[in-house]
């Protein structure tokens, strides 16, 4: 199964690489070119890499269970597998309930996918049509392929993808754990799940403490420190639920850790192959989830370099006689990463907000504190042990954890995305801590068993609360009745009627002019057309056009503004985008008459409340 997971990741990389490379040269339609191209890339990657990977991946990573000819030991079975059931409610809720599939950002991500399906790559910025995309759109290409494969809408295939990726994460973690404890038998589910879902283990307690102390007449000033923690780090189960590329990024990260671990344990016969494997995983991470990709290069790569320099075997690698070979590999790697770098730079330059450095941030320190403190007491003794015993793989993990946390404090990513650094560092932190927990629990003593029971209980509670939280939040957020048919989504409410009409009657490149609305509330994305401008996308803030369009929209729908002025705003809008326009406007006979005069545009009445005007740009 690990081999399949590796193939999956490298196929994803090959797919994204081919599509990005092609899109740098020319715009491509999704069908008929992209789809066969993508499948060819996947098939090629699978057939070329399978023998190579078969040699690389020689550890049975999967929790395989007993063979069918053996009688199971039920206690051993329960001890090993039972805890996996804590993720079943989240998986079921996600697969069965469309509001949960939409999640927080699912609407505008769906917009990207529909755009790729109908208009190819590279997509436009779906929150600001006419501008280049400032998001990691290879992830959307991947989902667009799933949409075609399953003939299902983007939110549903995102849910399928997330559940599968969660399973893959368990696989990788299981294999990592086997490496670290040098035992090939199936690990207990606790050690597989804890590093992935244990982050910020006492979140609920922290919130309660803050609430209790805030209620006191004189609240302690240090409370502000706890309050400053990023709330997006609340429940790690959300990482495998939300409609975004982070779940893909996590699997890339775990595969990279696995490969590095293999290198550091001197298990590799051909280290150069492993470095190239890492390069492939790094490229995939950069293309599918840029934050994870940056983490791999800014945190994992330096940690690996330090660990290698400490390792006698690899000191020889950097000897003078190897410089030529190293230079050759570095040059080839630079060429390999060139299209990825161009893609990332283009996306970054299309953003209104930029990545920056900050000397110190109390908010980040607070976030790291709440993530790490529940297991810090286990982490540091394990780190000291690893240092004394020169256990390089564990030292490497410690470096990833600590350097990742430190970098999160010193860097400011758009939208405060450094919290993702903290989660990834937290995985390494919890993995190291788990090694010490295992040592403690293995010895006799009631308190040791009690400690394990407490941590298991806390993990179950944390995950259960997280599941309830996302269920409750998204169920209330998307209250409308939702119907899927094929790849389309219908929202059964009056406000969606114009969008359904637009989907049926306008060309795919149509831009919708509608009242000012957040990208995360705009069900208009299910019209499979783009809105002229939306609120709430921090990547667009700083792009002057966003403010201009916002003002245009606010004035257009302000009925106190004279009619002719509103018509002239529409002329401005027509000039700013080279797309047909669908204007959703409250029913207004005077406005309809003015539109008829100005643009010769017939009005389409949808009930008594809403009119739609279609304007085709010359």
């Amino acid at each position: 199964m690990l081999l399949f997971s590796f193939l999956f990741l490298l196929s994803l990389t090959a797919l994204a690489y081919v599509v990005v490379l092609a899109s740098l040269i020319t715009a491509l339609p999704f069908s008929p070119v992209i789809f066969p191209l993508a499948l060819a890339a996947v098939g090629l990657a699978a057939s070329v890499l399978s023998p190579f990977l078969g040699k690389c991946v020689n550890v049975s990573a999967a929790p395989t269970g007993w063979s069918t000819n053996q009688r199971p030991n039920i206690l051993h079975f329960l001890n090993t597998y039972l805890l996996y059931t804590i993720v079943i409610p989240a998986a079921l809720a996600l697969l069965f309930l469309p509001p949960l599939q939409f999640g927080y950002h699912g609407l505008f991500h769906s917009g990207y996918i529909y755009q790729i399906l109908s208009r190819g790559v590279p997509p436009e910025n779906v929150t600001l049509p006419g501008y280049p995309a400032n998001d990691y759109w290879p992830y959307h290409v991947y989902l667009a392929i799933l949409v075609r494969l399953f003939d299902s809408p983007p939110p549903f295939v995102s849910a399928i993808s997330n559940v599968v990726l969660m399973g893959m994460s368990f696989l990788w973690m299981s294999s990592l754990w086997k490496h670290f404890i040098r035992d090939a038998s199936t690990p207990s589910a606790f050690y597989v799940i804890f590093p992935l879902l244990g982050s910020n283990l006492f979140y609920t307690l922290n919130v309660q403490i803050v609430n209790w102390i805030s209620a006191l007449p004189q609240a302690a000033p240090w409370l502000d420190f706890l309050r400053a923690a990023d709330t997006r780090l609340d429940h790690p189960i959300i990482r495998f639920v939300n409609f975004n590329g982070f779940s893909v990024g996590i699997v890339f990260f775990l595969a990279a850790l696995w490969t590095v671990d293999r290198l550091l344990r001197n298990r590799s016969e051909r280290p150069a192959s492993d470095f190239w494997l890492l390069a492939g995983l790094g490229a995939g991470a950069l293309l599918y989830h840029a934050t994870t990709g940056i983490f791999l290069f800014a945190v994992v790569a330096p940690s690996l370099a330090i660990s290698l320099l400490m390792n006698d075997r690899y000191k020889l690698l950097f000897a003078k006689e190897n410089w030529a070979a190293i230079a050759k590999h570095v040059t080839l790697a630079a060429l390999f990463f060139l299209p990825v770098a161009v893609f990332l730079l283009r996306s970054a330059s299309a953003m209104g907000v930029k990545t920056g450095f900050e000397m110190f941030s109390w908010g980040d320190v607070s976030s790291i504190f709440v993530v790490a403190y529940p297991v810090a007491v286990f982490f540091f003794p394990e780190m000291l042990r690893a240092w004394k015993e020169k256990d390089f793989p564990v030292i490497f993990l410690c470096l990833v954890a600590l350097w990742g946390f430190a970098l999160a404090i010193c860097i400011h990513l758009p939208d405060g995305n450094e919290y993702k650094f903290m989660y990834l560092s937290g995985i390494a932190f919890f993995l190291v801590a788990s090694l010490q927990i295992r040592v403690i629990v293995a010895k006799p003593g009631f308190w040791r068993k009690g400690l394990f029971a407490f941590l298991t209980g806390a993990l179950i509670y944390h995950t259960a609360v997280g599941t309830w939280f996302f269920y409750d939040t998204y169920r209330r957020r998307h209250k409308a009745q939702i119907a899927y048919h094929g790849i389309h989504v219908d929202i059964i409410r009056d406000e969606f009627i114009p969008f359904a009409w637009i989907r049926e009657h306008t060309p795919p490149e149509t831009v919708i002019v509608q009242p000012w609305n957040s990208k995360d509330w705009n069900y208009g994305y299910f019209s499979e057309r783009l809105p002229y401008v939306v609120a709430g996308h921090i990547y667009n803030e700083g792009i002057p056009e966003t403010a201009i369009r916002r003002e245009q929209i606010e004035r257009l729908y302000d009925t106190s503004i004279p009619l002719q002025e509103r018509i002239s705003i529409l002329r401005e809008i027509m000039q700013s985008v080279s797309h047909p326009l669908a204007i959703i406007y409250p029913a207004d006979n005077a406005f309809a008459a003015a539109m008829q005069t100005a643009f010769n545009s017939a009005v389409h009445h949808l009930g008594k409340q809403v009119d739609i005007y279609i304007l085709r740009t010359p």
Binding site: G43, P63, S67, F96, L149, D151, F156, A483
Partner: protein, 330 residues
């Protein structure tokens, strides 16, 4: 060689698996003909049986053919041809039975059309694929052995076959072509799209793959995704089969495979299920004829439990009929 093979103890898990599929299929057919499928729960269960059963049968066929044909030197071609002929005869009986009993049609043009595969009998179309797949496999003996000999080639073939649902089949009007590559105009179980399960079954038999918990996890995940789609009213295309229909069905039937393996250790269920599976053609044809005959009596007259009891009665009656037969070697 063949005698040596026939002397070995029969691996009953495939017979049990087929027995489970036959039970599911008879229940589904009865549900459809009595009208209880209007119940959403019944319809959901019906869809689960539908997605796993045919793919599962093809898997079993591949498994059995690997042992009884591809593994043999020389391969017993005549035995396979006889088996194909039996299946085709079974199909003709069921199809003509459908027209005579349900549609009250029986004339020479109709018989000619049925015999020439221009018209198909309801709930028996799948038998044609059961007849054609061994024929295709006989013709492709060497390539199939070549593919199965290497894991790399096998996975590449699986990958390519899983892409076949994307072949545009809207233009296919010929029923003969549709039997092989599918069509959007009619009910066909195309050989090409479902052949992946034949290869998978042959692969499992050739490598003696054991079913572990990972199989069960994947199977449950596939079925959950399928049910999730059903709950959201987003059903996958069955005719022609879509990628999702194939993949989720293929993942799903491993649960049946696992259950069959477990049951094969118990004598009681084995005694009941293995004969049903070993004589699946007989059960499918006789049960179809009984369903056609009882259709008017029970249509909209029974509930879910009534339909389930009727399915049980049909199975018991078929079982009894099977026991009445005394093979006489002259």
């Amino acid at each position: 060689m063949n005698q040596a093979i026939s002397g070995l103890a029969r691996d009953l898990k495939i017979d049990i698996m087929k027995g489970l599929f036959v039970i599911g299929m008879v229940w589904s057919h009865v549900s459809g003909y009595t009208g209880v499928r209007e119940n959403r729960w019944v319809d959901g269960a019906w869809n689960i049986f539908a997605v796993v059963t045919f793919s599962g049968f093809i898997f079993c066929m591949g498994y059995v053919m690997q042992i009884s044909y591809f593994d043999q030197t020389p391969p017993p071609v005549q035995k396979m041809l006889r088996s194909t002929w039996r299946t085709l005869t079974g199909y003709y009986i069921a199809a003509l039975g459908y027209f005579a009993i349900v549609r009250h049609e029986f004339d020479w043009p109709l018989i000619r059309n049925v015999l020439l595969l221009r018209q198909f009998g309801n709930i028996s179309e799948f038998l044609l694929a059961f007849a054609l797949i061994p024929l295709v496999s006989l013709a492709l003996t060497r390539p199939i052995r070549y593919i199965l000999a290497s894991e790399r080639r096998f996975f590449l073939a699986v990958f390519l076959l899983l892409m076949t649902p994307f072949i545009p089949v809207n233009f296919v009007h010929s029923p003969y072509l549709a039997l092989f590559i599918g069509s959007s105009q009619g009910i066909y179980y195309p050989v090409l799209q479902y052949y992946v399960f034949f290869l998978l079954g042959a692969y499992y038999a050739s490598r003696e793959v054991k079913v572990g918990w990972m199989h069960i996890a994947i199977s449950l995940l596939c079925l959950t995704i399928f049910v999730g789609a059903y709950v959201n009213n987003n059903m996958f295309s069955r005719f022609p089969p879509s990628f999702a229909w194939l993949v989720l069905g293929g993942g799903g039937f491993f649960l049946w495979y696992w259950v069959a393996e477990r049951l094969s250790a118990w004598p009681f269920p084995t005694k009941i299920l293995a004969p049903i599976g070993a004589n699946s053609l007989f059960f499918l044809v006789t049960s179809n004829l009984m369903i056609f005959s009882t259709r008017e009596t029970f249509r909209n007259a029974v509930g879910v439990s009534g339909a389930s009891i009727l399915a049980l009665v049909i199975l018991v009656a078929s079982f009894a009929l099977m026991r009445f037969v005394r093979p006489l070697k002259i």
